[in-house]
């Protein structure tokens, strides 16, 4: 049967199991919009293309499926770029479809033309410009394959509007066949044996787990390994939820705003078992002095992550679930009694704490109460800044895909659209956006998307009147010269109502819990505007460029 390019596109999406597409219309995607008009897919009209990209990303993080978004050519496509870069940095499977000007106009500075494959090349895993309708079905198939396998990432398909309108006898490939793309899945057996031996001989081992655990769905295997070898586990920001933080072996997060005990244990360890993590500078601090006595086993699906920042003794390329399963079969428990005694001492001496006295609401208290009221059963999306770090520190994550945050790029404005995507993917879950008063203003227009589509998310603004994280650096390193960081906003309660959502303002500590309960009971999107202590800081903290056991603040 003859099908148009737009029909082939949509048929292909359906064949890939796509249920939701986030997008915004325009001249170069009109044929596509027309086909979407009567598909069984949910077509969510956002209010800004950046929102579409983050919503697709949030959907992907909450479900593990490929998130899909679309935009028109030119400004529509360029508005997706921040979302693509965000997904790229955090290895999120996403496919973005962009309209392009007619094939014969490409390169002519046509109306709403932008070199989308050129612009997005460095921020995507791969991208395509479709020049021939006969390639379209194949390209979509490949795009989903590339986005979701190996180290996942965003893929852009740029489709000229004339190709969307042309017709062809449609053929859909069953399989992809790419000679140049074959990610390594199973780990080298010899390397796994070496790793097992190294583990059994270690005295002070630590498991350092990253987002790869969640992507590979390897949290159970990770828990098995930790218990089997009785080793403490610290996770990165991206790894939160990959290991249950209520387990005795959990040290919480490490790095710049990690726990003292996680950082101390990492520094003092004699063996680091890194799984699905990449020794990012926010984790290692000063590289030369990072874990000076540790041997390193590094398990990662991306060979470029291995030996990039630190010297690795046993690199193992492959899928974390696969490798951990194999490792669990051969590994033996080392003697670590003394090590645990030392760690317990650190845990006792340096717990995570914050100021609880004083009249004002502590932002950390709000996060803690959200944890208590939800009993941990919620998906927490965050914006960027102090709110993101407090959300990481004061909520105990026990399940994968429950902490959703822009880790690598640190994109303010990510949280609200991501929460919308997450809620669509997991309608059974209570979804929060823990937000800053600055960040929430970056994609506030998506409130309309949430309300119009009855996607109920709960936005908790930790309103400190500052671009708090930057202010914190000014306080500590720029003599409190608060240049450009005091920030005002609208009346968020009125604003919520104007959008058709609910709004509440919370000024007193004793009202925090009640407000959260109330918000959860309201069958609508709610903004909770928590007026919090203005100059609270995220502690402990490793000053930039320092070793990670040189932490400041927050040590009661």
């Amino acid at each position: 049967m003859k099908r148009t390019g737009a029909q082939i596109l949509v048929d292909s999406l359906l064949r890939e199991g796509v249920r939701v597409i986030f997008g915004y219309p325009g001249g170069s995607v009109l044929p596509l919009q027309d086909v979407l008009y009567d598909t069984p897919m949910d077509v969510i009209l956002v209010r800004h293309e950046q929102g579409a990209s983050h919503a697709a990303d949030g959907y992907a993080r909450a479900t593990g499926k490929v998130g899909v978004c679309m935009a028109t050519s030119g400004p529509g496509a360029t508005n997706l770029v921040t979302g693509l870069a965000t997904a790229h940095m955090d290895s999120i499977p996403m496919v973005a479809i962009t309209g392009q000007v007619k094939t014969h106009l490409i390169g002519n500075d046509a109306f709403q033309e932008a070199d989308v494959t050129g612009i997005t090349r460095p921020v995507t895993k791969h991208n395509y410009l479709v020049k021939d309708i006969s390639e379209l079905a194949c390209i979509v198939k490949e795009a989903f394959h590339i986005a979701s396998t190996g180290r996942p990432g965003p893929v852009v398909i740029d489709v000229p509007v004339d190709i969307q309108m042309q017709t062809i006898e449609a053929e859909f490939p069953e399989k992809v066949c790419m000679r140049s793309y074959k990610p390594t899945i199973t780990g080298h057996p010899g390397q796994i044996k070496r790793a097992a031996k190294m583990i059994s001989q270690s005295k002070r081992p630590i498991i350092y787990a990253g987002g790869g655990i969640i992507i590979a769905d390897a949290h159970e295997e990770l828990l098995e390994l930790a218990v089997k070898i009785n080793a403490p586990v610290t996770t990165t920001l991206m790894g939160l939820g990959g290991f249950p933080e209520d387990n005795d072996l959990s040290l919480g997060m490490l790095g710049m705003h990690g726990t003292v005990y996680a950082n101390n244990a990492t520094m003092e360890s004699d063996l680091i078992i890194a799984v699905g993590a990449r020794f990012d500078d926010r984790v290692t601090g000063k590289l030369d002095s990072f874990a000076p006595n540790a041997k390193i086993i590094h398990i990662d699906i991306d060979p470029t992550s291995l030996s990039k920042n630190v010297r690795v003794h046993v690199p193992i390329v492959g899928d974390a679930k696969n490798i951990l399963t194999a490792l669990n079969k051969v590994v033996k428990k080392p003697e670590t009694k003394k090590w645990h005694a030392q760690i317990n001492e650190w845990k006792k001496k340096y717990p995570l704490t914050y100021k609880t006295k004083g009249k004002k609401i502590s932002p950390q208290y709000v996060v803690e109460q959200i944890y208590k009221v939800t009993k941990g059963d919620a998906i927490i999306c965050t914006e960027v800044g102090q709110n993101q770090m407090w959300a990481a520190q004061y909520f105990n994550y026990t399940k994968p895909r429950t902490y959703i945050s822009s880790g690598g790029l640190g994109t303010m404005g990510y949280g609200l659209p991501a929460a919308i995507g997450a809620k669509l993917g997991r309608p059974d879950k209570m979804v929060f956006d823990i937000a800053g008063d600055g960040s929430i203003q970056m994609n506030i227009q998506e409130l309309a998307t949430a309300v119009a589509n009855k996607i109920n998310v709960k936005i908790a603004i930790l309103n400190n009147g500052y671009l708090g994280m930057v202010r914190q650096w000014q306080e500590l390193f720029y003599k409190r010269r608060y240049s450009m960081t005091p920030i005002s906003g609208p009346d968020f309660v009125k604003l919520a109502k104007a959008y058709g959502a609910e709004g509440m303002r919370i000024k007193k500590k004793e009202d925090v819990k009640k407000a959260i309960k109330e918000a959860m009971a309201i069958p609508n999107t709610v903004i909770m505007d928590f007026i919090v202590e203005e100059e609270a800081n995220v502690f402990p903290m490793v000053p930039a460029g320092e070793a990670i056991n040189r932490m400041i603040g927050g040590m009661a």
């Binding site: 494959t117 050129g118 090349r121 460095p122 895993k125 791969h126 410009l129 590339i146 790419m178 000679r179 140049s180 793309y181 991306d302 060979p303 470029t304 291995l306 030996s307 990039k308």
Partner: protein, 156 residues
């Protein structure tokens, strides 16, 4: 240290941009780059000469391999291989003659493609050392213009 990296890629538009983008984004410097179709028209071979320490080089190779359009990457430096480059040089003929020039280039695989009072065009093929020698010799005579293909290489 200089390394000669041979890369097989899908012969598609945009591949060159991807590769040069990779080098520039990560601050790796390319000394020489040559691209051309292989006997299989769907595949191109790139010969890239980079100057880098071993650790950086390992990253370069892995990053190249990570690109979806890249089929294989090999560092020829550690193996037996031939390396050649072709250079076209326009020589000033004011102070020399064709005969003298022919004699000067005697020991090299060089051809004089044309010669007149305005200048002569010389084609030279060779490895890096030979080319450098010829260039030096001709510099003494006077070089008006010089074009090189970039080095290509193949294992023996």
């Amino acid at each position: 240290m200089k390394h000669t990296i041979s890369v097989l890629v899908d012969n598609k538009p945009g591949v060159l941009a991807r590769i040069s983008g990779l080098f520039s984004a990560r601050g790796f410097n390319i000394t020489s780059l040559a691209v051309g179709e292989t006997n299989d028209p769907t595949v191109s071979r790139m010969t890239i000469i980079v100057s880098a320490e071993d650790r950086i080089l390992e990253q370069v190779q892995k990053q190249l391999h990570k690109l979806i359009d890249v089929i294989s990457v090999s560092d020829l430096t550690k193996r037996d291989y031939f390396e050649r480059e072709l250079v076209l040089i326009k020589v000033n003929m004011a102070r020399t003659t064709k005969q003298k020039l022919t004699k000067l280039l005697d020991k090299f695989s060089a051809t004089i493609l044309s010669s007149s009072k305005q200048g002569a065009v010389v084609e030279v093929v060779g490895d890096n050392k030979e080319i450098s020698k010829v260039v030096k010799l001709l510099e003494a005579v006077g070089i008006k213009e010089l074009v090189r293909t970039g080095r290509i290489a193949i294992t023996s």
